[in-house]
């Protein structure tokens, strides 16, 4: 088809479109609804018995806040990645909070080592962790993937990775409220490890999930 003919066909039957909301508003909307879902589900499942004690621990508060901020900022970054012309640094917005989350867990490992010695670093298999995280993240994950598909597929790999990070971080936060795991090394390997694994897995499917529409409206 001739390019001028293409222009005529694109402009011939033009319909008004609903503008995409700003990434920050979309992220807040997704995070608010997903947080309400996770909190409600955690309450129904049953909160861990030592939760009130855990919230007196400064390190746990920092870790929990870092998980939630990682989720929120990763969602905002995923929505920014789908908007052409936005600065590249926005895609790394979740990185400081992700580092803070991992650092707080590593600091907890060091505290366990100081307090209990080698016993505090004992690693045991926890095969239920990955499917549990997947279950907690499934609904927020489905919602964010539907939302990022409304954007432009400019960076499919990083967009799907950030969306998966947002959903799985929220799932990890819910697990910290319900799953009583004392050893931080177990949290590091099984919870943070599962988040990393699912994020990488989502990245592999990025190009299949986010594509340029072949038949534009």
């Amino acid at each position: 088809m001739d390019t001028e003919d293409l222009v005529r066909s694109l402009t011939g039957d033009l319909k008004p479109v609903r503008r995409l909301a700003l990434p920050v508003w979309r992220a807040m909307g997704w995070f608010g609804l997903s947080l309400a879902f996770a909190a409600g589900a955690a309450y129904l499942v049953g909160l861990r018995h030592d939760l009130s004690d855990m919230f007196t621990d400064g390190r746990f508060i920092v870790e929990f806040a870092a998980i939630l901020l990682t989720s929120l900022m990763a969602a905002a970054a995923a929505f920014c990645a789908g908007c052409p012309g936005r600065p590249l640094w926005e895609r790394f917005a979740a990185l400081p909070f992700l580092c803070l989350w991992v650092a707080s867990v590593v600091f907890g490992c060091w505290q366990d080592w100081s307090r209990l010695g080698a016993a505090g670093m004992a690693i045991t298999p926890d095969p239920i962790c990955l499917p549990t995280l997947l279950a907690w993240s499934a609904l927020p994950g489905a919602a964010i993937f539907v939302m990022v598909k409304r954007g432009a597929p400019l960076a499919p790999l990083s967009t799907t990775a950030l969306a998966a990070l947002a959903a799985t971080a929220l799932g990890a936060a819910a697990m910290r409220l319900t799953h009583a795991t004392d050893a931080n090394v177990m949290v590091l390997i099984w919870q943070v490890g599962s988040v990393a694994l699912l994020t990488c897995a989502a990245m592999l499917f990025g190009r299949r999930i986010l594509r340029w529409p072949e038949h534009p409206a």
């Binding site: 222009v7 033009l14 479109v17 908007c83 052409p84 012309g85 534009p216």
Partner: protein
């Protein structure tokens, strides 16, 4: 673009018409293969149209457009690189048949005469072995039964006959 988002076809048509020469220039600058320039420009236009709802009217238009254009040029480069990895460029397409001409009837007749002449110089026992095994296509066992000779003796006769015929034919050339 703001008007286009609201469904103003005339404003959209003006915008795309103004963008066309610029997009051709940008693609031409980044893309060496001049045959594909129009294809990539069309891809960019289709992409702009498909994601026009992502344009934020509070932000400048050109970075929005250039991000899409650069992305589509990169996609085209990746697609071409992937396709080139499975293709081999040749200057002349190889023929699928031999350049040798088939033998004419005259050539075949001449060959038959030469073979007949070569056989005529063979001793009787060797000529008989060749006739039965190579012309009548009998097996060694059948030939042995017809001639009353042993299989080993027939093998020797055929071998010597072929050697003698070859020498005769080479002497003729």
């Amino acid at each position: 673009m703001r008007s286009a988002q609201n469904g103003d076809a005339r404003a959209y048509s003006l915008l795309l018409a103004e963008l066309l020469p610029m997009l051709r220039r940008i693609v031409g600058h980044k893309w060496r293969n001049t045959n594909n320039i129009e294809d990539i420009v069309q891809e960019i236009l289709l992409s702009v149209h498909a994601v026009r709802h992502t344009y934020d009217s509070n932000r400048p238009f050109m970075p929005w457009l250039m991000t899409i254009a650069n992305r589509r040029i990169a996609d085209a480069a990746r697609y071409n690189a992937g396709r080139a990895a499975h293709e081999t460029t040749v200057d002349i397409m190889p023929e699928t048949f031999s350049g040798d001409q088939p033998k004419s009837t005259q050539d075949l007749n001449e060959n038959h005469d030469l073979l007949r002449e070569a056989m005529s110089v063979l001793p009787e026992s060797q000529r008989e072995a060749i006739e039965l095994m190579k012309l009548k296509e009998l097996t060694l066992a059948e030939t042995a039964k017809v001639t009353g000779k042993s299989i080993a003796s027939l093998k020797v006769s055929v071998h010597r006959a072929i050697k003698a015929m070859r020498a005769h034919l080479e002497g003729k050339q």
